[in-house]
Symmetry: C2
Subunit: 642 residues, 2 copies
Amino acid sequence: MCDLESSLSNAPAPLEIHKVSLPQEKTTLQSLKQRLGEIFFSDDPLHQFKGQTPFRKLVLALQYFFPIFQWGSEYTLKLLKSDAVSGLTIASLAIPQGISYAKLANLPPVIGLYSSFVPPLIYSVLGSSRDLAVGPVSIASLVMGSMLREAISPEKEPILYLQLAFTATLFAGVFQASLGFLRLGFVVDFLSKPTLIGFMGGAAVIVSLQQLKGLLGIVHFTNQMGFVPVMSAVFKHRTEWAWQTLVMGFSFLAFLLMTRHISMRRPKLFWVSAAAPLASVILSTVVSFAFKAHNHGIQIIGHLEKGVNPPSLNMLYFQASYLPLAVKTGIVTGILSLTEGIAVGRTFASLKNYQVDGNKEMMAIGLMNMAGSCTSCYVTTGSFSRSAVNYNAGCRTAVSNIIMASAVLFTMLFLMPLFHYTPNVILSAIIITAVIGLIDFHAALRLWKVDKLDFLACISAFFGVLFISVQMGLAIAVGISLFKILIHVTRPNTVIMGNVPGTQSYRSIGQYREASRIPSFLIIGVESPIYFTNSMYLQERILRWVREEEERTAKTNENNLKCVVLDMSAVTAIDTSGMEALMELKKVLDKKSLQLVLANPVGDVTEKLYRSEAWDLFRSDCIYMSVEEAVLAMSSGFKSQG
Amino acid sequence: MCDLESSLSNAPAPLEIHKVSLPQEKTTLQSLKQRLGEIFFSDDPLHQFKGQTPFRKLVLALQYFFPIFQWGSEYTLKLLKSDAVSGLTIASLAIPQGISYAKLANLPPVIGLYSSFVPPLIYSVLGSSRDLAVGPVSIASLVMGSMLREAISPEKEPILYLQLAFTATLFAGVFQASLGFLRLGFVVDFLSKPTLIGFMGGAAVIVSLQQLKGLLGIVHFTNQMGFVPVMSAVFKHRTEWAWQTLVMGFSFLAFLLMTRHISMRRPKLFWVSAAAPLASVILSTVVSFAFKAHNHGIQIIGHLEKGVNPPSLNMLYFQASYLPLAVKTGIVTGILSLTEGIAVGRTFASLKNYQVDGNKEMMAIGLMNMAGSCTSCYVTTGSFSRSAVNYNAGCRTAVSNIIMASAVLFTMLFLMPLFHYTPNVILSAIIITAVIGLIDFHAALRLWKVDKLDFLACISAFFGVLFISVQMGLAIAVGISLFKILIHVTRPNTVIMGNVPGTQSYRSIGQYREASRIPSFLIIGVESPIYFTNSMYLQERILRWVREEEERTAKTNENNLKCVVLDMSAVTAIDTSGMEALMELKKVLDKKSLQLVLANPVGDVTEKLYRSEAWDLFRSDCIYMSVEEAVLAMSSGFKSQG
C-alpha cells in the first residue's frame, strides 16, 4: 500500500485530461457492410485483383478457381520426377487402405478403389494444396457406416445401402461446396482441436475394436459400434475364434506396427511404413493362395469386378422415407471430412510456407464429392496418413494425385483378380495400424496441463464416442466447447488493480504483487464484454468488491473509499442490458456518495454509451481515457473539495 | 504520423522494464474451487454468518430461509394499516384478473381464484420481496393454455386437461425450486431483456387477438394461437358477431383504457385503474342481471362453486403417455414465470433500495407452485401489473399478500353466486387492458438506436410468437442472443493502435484521431479472448494487417516495419488453439524477419502461456507489461543493432 502522492511522484507533471473520442461516425449500412465483410471476407480474397488490367484479372480469376493454371504453366520434368515417386508411393498405400476403409463403411471393397480414382483427379484440378493425398479416410468411413447401419442392414439390403451411401456422399459434397461458396468456412472452426483429439482417439479405439472381428476370425458379430456391445460380442463368440486367422493377423499386425515404429523414429525411412501395407497384402495373398487358406477357416476377399468406375447417377435415391437419413449422414460425414481435409492441408501448407484458402478448399472438396457420388465413389477427403507419406516422399504439386489415380486405374483394369485370395484379416491389421496414430496421449496430457476445460471437452468426446455413439460424442464435445465460451462470458473475471510503481500503468494486484492500491480509490478491471448473461452478476460482484473494500478500510483505518474506477479496456462490447447495469450501478453508488468513473472504454462501447441514456449519466466528468487520468482528475477533485 | 523520438520525448527518462508476473501459484483444486465459487456462490451468501455466535447463526439461518422471521418481529400496527390498504386494492384487481387469466389457460374460472389464495400465503412466509403481488399472470397462463391445448382439448376432456395443468404446475415448481437450490439462478439471465420485450409484446398481441372471440361474441372460434388462424377465424365467423356483446365490450374496454391512461399520467391516481376492473365487473353484472343479458346473446360466466381450494394431490397425473407434455409445459411456464417474478421483484427492490436474492426467490416461487399444484392452483408468480399497484398503494411488507388472500377467501366463501351473471365480454376487456402495457414500442425503438443485434433478437421474438408459436418465438430469440455472443468471439475486432501524444497510452487510431503510429512498429489490439473459434481468423487477420502495413510503408517510403506488438489487454482468456495460433504467428513473422512481441497479457493468459510451449518461444524478450515498455525496449534494440 502506498501513499497517493508518492505513488504518482514518478509521473510527469500533471497531465492534461484527454477526451474519450468516439470512433468515426458510420451509418448503419456502413457498419453492417464492415461487419459482414469481416465475417465473410476476412481474408480479403479480391486483394490480388486490385489495380490489374482486365486481361490479367481474367487470368487471375481462372487461376483462382482452377489452381492448376497457376502451377501448371510452370510445371517441369524435374517436378514430375518428384511427383511420380511420391504418387506411386501413396498409391501403394491407397490401394490396400481403399479396400479396407470401404469395408469399414460396410461397402464393397471395390468402392474404395473407385473412390481413390475419380476424386484425386478432380482435386488435382481444383485444389490449392500441393501435399494433400485424396481418397477415402477412416473417420468418415466409420461414421458413414455406423449412421447408415442404424437404419438399414448392408447385408440384407446391399443395393439400398449402396444407394444411400452415394446419396449421402452427394449431400456431403453439396453441403461442403455451399459452405465454401457462402463463405461460411468458419463453421469448421467450431470443432476445436481438443474436441477433435478426443473424438479421433475414441473413433480409433472403436475402429480397432471392430477389427477384432477380422483378427479373431469371428463370423457372427454385432452391428453396434459401442465399446460394451463389441467387447461382449467378442467374448460371446469365443468358440468362433480361429487360431489360423489369429496367428496370421497378429503376425502381420506386429510387422506393420514395427515398420510404423521405424518410420516414426527415422522420418527418412518413411517408405518402410509406406510400402509395408502393400507388401503385407502381396505376401499374405501369396501365402493364402499357396496354402488354400480359405479352406482353413481364413476369410478371403473373393471375386472383385475388373473395370473402371461405373456411373452411379441412377443410384441416387431421393425418396422421402430415407431422405432425412441421407441428408443427416451427408452433413455429419461432410463436416468431419472437411475438417480433416482442411486441417491436413493447412498443416503441410504451413510447413512449406504457402497459404491454403479455406473457403476455396471447401468448394474443391465439395465438388469432388459431388462428382464422386455420380461415379460410384463415397465420401473422400485429404487423408492425414497418406498426405504425410506424400509430403515425406517429396511431392511437389497435385500431380502426385494424378499419378496415384493412374496407378489405381491400372490396378482396377488389370490387377483385380490378384486380390481374390487376399485374406480379410490383413485388411483389419492395415486399418488398426492406420488408425492407431490417431490416439494422441501426449496431446491429451498437454491439454490437462494447460487447460482443464479443454481437457474435459477432449475426454468427453473420447468417452462419448466410446460408450454412447459417434454422433453423440461429437455433439457433446461441441457443446462443451461452446459452453466454455458462454461460461467465460457469464461469469467473467473481475480484478482489483493497483499502480505499478514507477509507471503510469495500473495492473491486477493479484498478478503484479508490486502493484499498490491507491488510497480512497477502488480500481476494478472487468475482463469480459458486458452482456445480458453477465450484467446482473457483474453489478452484484462489483457491489461486493465495494463492500469488501469498505470493510477492509474500516478495519485498517485507512482513508475512506471515495471513488470506484472501472477499467473498461477489456470490455470489448456491451449490450443494452449491460448499459442498464452500468447506470444502475452508478445510481446505487451515488446513493452511497461514491463516484463511479469509467476508464478507457473501447470504440464500440463508447459509441453505444453515446447513443444511449447512459451518456447523460456519465458524460460530463466520469469517462476518462486511462485509469491514470481518472485517478489524477478525481483526486484533484477531492483535494479542492477537502 | 510522428517521429519516434519526438513522440516519446514527453515520457519520463528511459523506464526500467518490468517483468510480466504470473498470478499466485494455485493448485488445480484451488482454482476449481474459486471458479465454482464464482459460478454458484458469487453473491457470497454466507457473508453475514461470519464471526457470529452459534445461536445468532441459528436465528440468521431461520431468517434466511423464512424471511417472515426477519420482518415479522418488527411488525407494527402502522405497517399493517399500509399493508391492509394495498392488500385490499390488489384484491380488487386480483379477483377479476384471476377469473380472466384462468380462462386464458382454458381452465375453469374458479381455478384462477384458488390460485390467488394459497400461493400468496406461502409466498408471504418464504419470499424476500416486500412488493411482489403473487397470483396467476397472463404470459404463463397463455403459454400453458397453448401448450396443453396442442395435445388435448379442454372442451372434450376437461378432467384430463385439468389434471395435466396441475401436473405441469408441479413440474414448474420442482424445476424452479431446484434451479434455486442448485444455485443455477443465472439460467434466467439467458433470457435477455430485448428478447423479453419482443416476446412479451408478441404474446400481448396474441392474447389480445384471442379476446376478439369474447369481444365480438363469436361462438365457434379457432383453437390455434397464431396471427393468421385467429384473424381468419374472426372474419370467417362474421355472422356470429353479436352487436349487444360488441357494444358492451367496447364501451367497457374504452372505460378501462381511459382509467389506465389516467393512472399512467398521474401515478397518485393509481387507484383509478386499480379499482376499474372490479367496478366494471360489478356494473356489467348488474346490467347483465337487470336486462337478462344472456337472453340477448351475451355470454355469461354461469354457476361458480362456492368454497375454499379443494385438495388436488389425487389429480396429479404421471402416466407415461402425457408425462413428457407435462414436463415440457412445466419447464417452459416455470422459466417464464420465474423470469417475470424475479424481474419484478428486483425492479421494486431497487426502487426501495433493498436486495432480492435470486436463488432464494426461486426456491420460494418453486415451493409455492409445488404447494399450489396440490391445492387446485395452476402456475403463479409475481405479477408485474398488480405488483406496481401494490407498490403505488404503499405496501410495506408481504402482509399485503395475506390481506389479498383473505379477501379472495371471503369472495370464494360468500360472494361466488354474484359472479353468475358477469358477462364473459368484460373478462376479455380486462385481459386486453392488462396485457396492452406489455407492448413497449419505446423500448424497441431504443434498442434499434443503440444495438441493432439486440433489436433483431427483439423483433424475431415478436414475429416468432406472432406467426410461428409461442415456444418457437422464445427459442429463436434465445438462439439469436447466444449467437450474438458467439459471433463476437468468432470474428473479434482487431484495431491498429498509436501513441496518444503527451501520454504513455496507446489507443486505437480509429477511435483517437490524435493517436499516431510509431515508425517501424505495428501495434495491434486484439479485442476478444483467443479461442478455437477465432484463432485461425485472428492469425490470418493479423497477417493481413501486416501485409497492408508493409504495402503502406512501401508506398510512403517510411521506415520498414520491424516489429509487431500485440496488445493483449483485452485478451481475457486463451485456449490451446489460441496458443498454437500465437506460436504459428511468431514463426511466420520470424521468417519475414519481423519481431512479434506481446504486451500486457492478463493473469490467466500469462499462466497458460507459462504452462505451454509458447513460453519457450516468447519468454526471453517478447512479453512486456505494457505497449509503452515493449516499444521502448524494442526500439532501443534496433538502435544498438543499427
